[in-house]
């Protein structure tokens, strides 16, 4: 395991390299500038959008929705997977639901969501949940099933209540699966958010970062589009390095449950 500072340096190096490549392509004018703007333009736009508060406002709107969506989904996924772990009937229902719902694109649910929940925050939340819930459930259930059976015996022996079993054994034992599920969920929630915000549009012009990007695109402001994407990417990397990397270092790595 390389130490964190080293890891950061490598990461930074790669990002700089990728940025350089981008800038070279832009400078080569191989593509029209309207289609492939240089980093200078993107960063300038980013800066103005951030300072005039518009981007920041939309971003906060989106982050709040993501936080709510992820919290809800994690709770939901945990509850359902746990239920399925303990009850065969629930397991077969959950498997059926997952098989039914997981391949359904959010777009297909749009009409129903629109009808039931309008085009507001609830609708976006639902799209995020639909996008994140099923893969998280799959990972969680795989993790639960892969738990060494001896832990189960020990739990039975010490007459743990189901709740104790859950929190003291099942969760920590399935943690490697849970973390990889969370990583997937985190990225998925961004994707779902952006598509949903684009599709459901804005109410009184507050539409989140997805709407911001959509608007920039409609106004043919490509540097603006990329500025929005850069913000998403930056947040993604921060979460990856500061939350997930630490979570792993403090748990599965420390416990010798992962390389």
């Amino acid at each position: 395991m390389i130490s964190l500072p080293d890891k950061f340096k490598q990461r930074l190096g790669w990002i700089l390299l990728l940025a350089l490549i981008w800038q070279l392509i832009a400078a080569s004018h191989f593509f029209s500038e309207l289609i492939f703007p240089g980093l200078d333009k993107i960063i300038l736009t980013l800066f103005t959008s951030l300072t005039n508060g518009n981007l920041l406002k939309q971003l906060i709107f989106s982050l709040i929705i993501i936080a709510q969506g992820l919290t809800l989904t994690v709770i939901l996924a945990l509850s359902l997977s746990i239920l399925a772990y303990f009850s065969e009937l629930a397991a077969s229902l959950l498997e059926t639901l997952t098989a039914l719902a997981h391949p359904l694109p959010g777009i297909a649910l749009m009409p129903l969501i629109l009808i039931w929940f309008g085009a507001g925050k609830t609708a976006i939340l639902l799209v995020i949940i639909h996008s994140v819930l099923w893969p998280l459930i799959l990972n969680l259930r795989a993790g639960f099933n892969a738990m060494p059976s001896i832990y189960n015996l020990i739990a039975q022996n010490y007459c743990l209540t189901k709740l104790e079993f859950l929190f003291k054994i099942l969760f920590p034992a399935a943690l490697p699966y849970f973390i990889s599920g969370l990583k997937i969920s985190w990225a998925r929630s961004w994707r779902a958010l952006i598509s949903a915000e684009m599709l459901f549009g804005a109410i009184n012009s507050l539409g989140g970062i997805g709407w911001y990007i959509f608007q920039r695109r409609v106004f043919f402001d490509l540097p603006g589009v990329f500025a929005g994407l850069v913000v998403i990417i930056l947040i993604g990397i921060i979460v990856e390095d500061f939350i997930f990397a630490r979570l792993e270092a403090k748990t599965v790595q420390k416990w010798g449950m992962s390389k």
């Binding site: 060494p148 001896i150 832990y151 015996l153 020990i154 039975q156 022996n157 010490y158 007459c159 743990l160 104790e164 003291k168 054994i169 920590p172 034992a173 943690l175 748990t251 420390k254 416990w255 010798g256 449950m257």
Partner: protein, 259 residues
């Protein structure tokens, strides 16, 4: 007091590839309260399976296992099992916390009914855990995680955990298999003292005949293919037992000749 723990014509089959295989056939014996019974038998004859049946983890295919006249239907805190496996400690808990975990689990009712000071209760458990860790000579390793221990050390932590819980019946599956003779003799002495002073009932799987003779009041000898009891011997040697005494060696010889 007789017939405290009783097995009546117990049989057990396992599903193997496409056929069923009989691993235990018509096993009959009983253990008195406060007795230490050693189970001897060739590798693969069904010793671990027998303990798991008594622990209630698996069900008999035929026959009855009863404790104090009541049929055993599942696992319980009255029968604490020490597994043969090295990996029975939870990797996410330190050595000390592995023991405290078991103590907490086994004293749940106590906590709720008697103790008004949960902080004090936790403190008590910690002291108790440390006491037993000292008995297996691992005090200085209390903050290690299991993956940082040697094979024998893991087994000793598991032993400390089982002893600390002080179940009515202790089911021990080769707890000393990976220990050097000095440590082994110390722990044998520890077990013998515990049993004599606190009159615990212990079922003890071992492959070491002299260990069985040193510790056991009753020695149950199994053969394999299928697993069957071929002999149940009473061991009335007086305490403290002398490994070099003539009677000791005679009994050992006698058992050796059974194989």
């Amino acid at each position: 007091m007789s017939k405290y723990l009783e097995l009546k014509s117990v049989s057990k089959k396992y599903q193997q590839q496409n056929k069923e295989e009989l691993v235990l056939k018509n096993v009959n014996f009983s253990v008195k309260k406060g007795e230490l019974a050693a189970i001897l038998g060739p590798s693969g004859c069904g010793k671990s399976t027998l303990l798991k049946l008594i622990a209630g983890f698996i069900k008999t295919d035929q026959g009855i296992i009863s404790k104090e006249g009541r049929i055993i239907r599942g696992p319980g805190l009255d029968r604490i099992m020490l597994f043969q496996d090295f990996e029975q400690l939870f990797p996410w808990l330190t050595v000390l916390n592995n023991i405290i975990f078991a103590l907490k689990a086994s004293r749940k009712t106590e906590k709720n009914s008697f103790n008004f000071w949960p902080g004090q209760f936790r403190q008590d458990l910690k002291l108790l855990a440390k006491e037993y860790l000292a008995k297996v000579k691992l005090s200085q390793y209390q903050d290690y995680y299991p993956h940082q221990l040697s094979g024998g050390m893991k087994q000793r932590v598991a032993l400390a955990r089982t002893l600390a819980v002080q179940g009515e019946i202790m089911l021990m599956d080769e707890p000393f298999a990976s220990l050097d003779s000095q440590t082994r003799q110390d722990l044998q002495q520890l077990l013998s003292d515990l049993q004599l002073n606190n009159s615990r009932t212990i079922l003890f799987v071992t492959h070491d005949i002299r260990e069985a003779v040193f510790l056991a009041d009753k020695i149950i000898v199994l053969k394999d293919n299928p697993g069957e009891v071929i002999s149940v011997l009473a061991n009335n040697l007086p305490y403290p037992r002398q490994r070099s005494s003539e009677q000791f060696n005679q009994l050992s010889e006698k058992i050796t000749s059974l194989f």
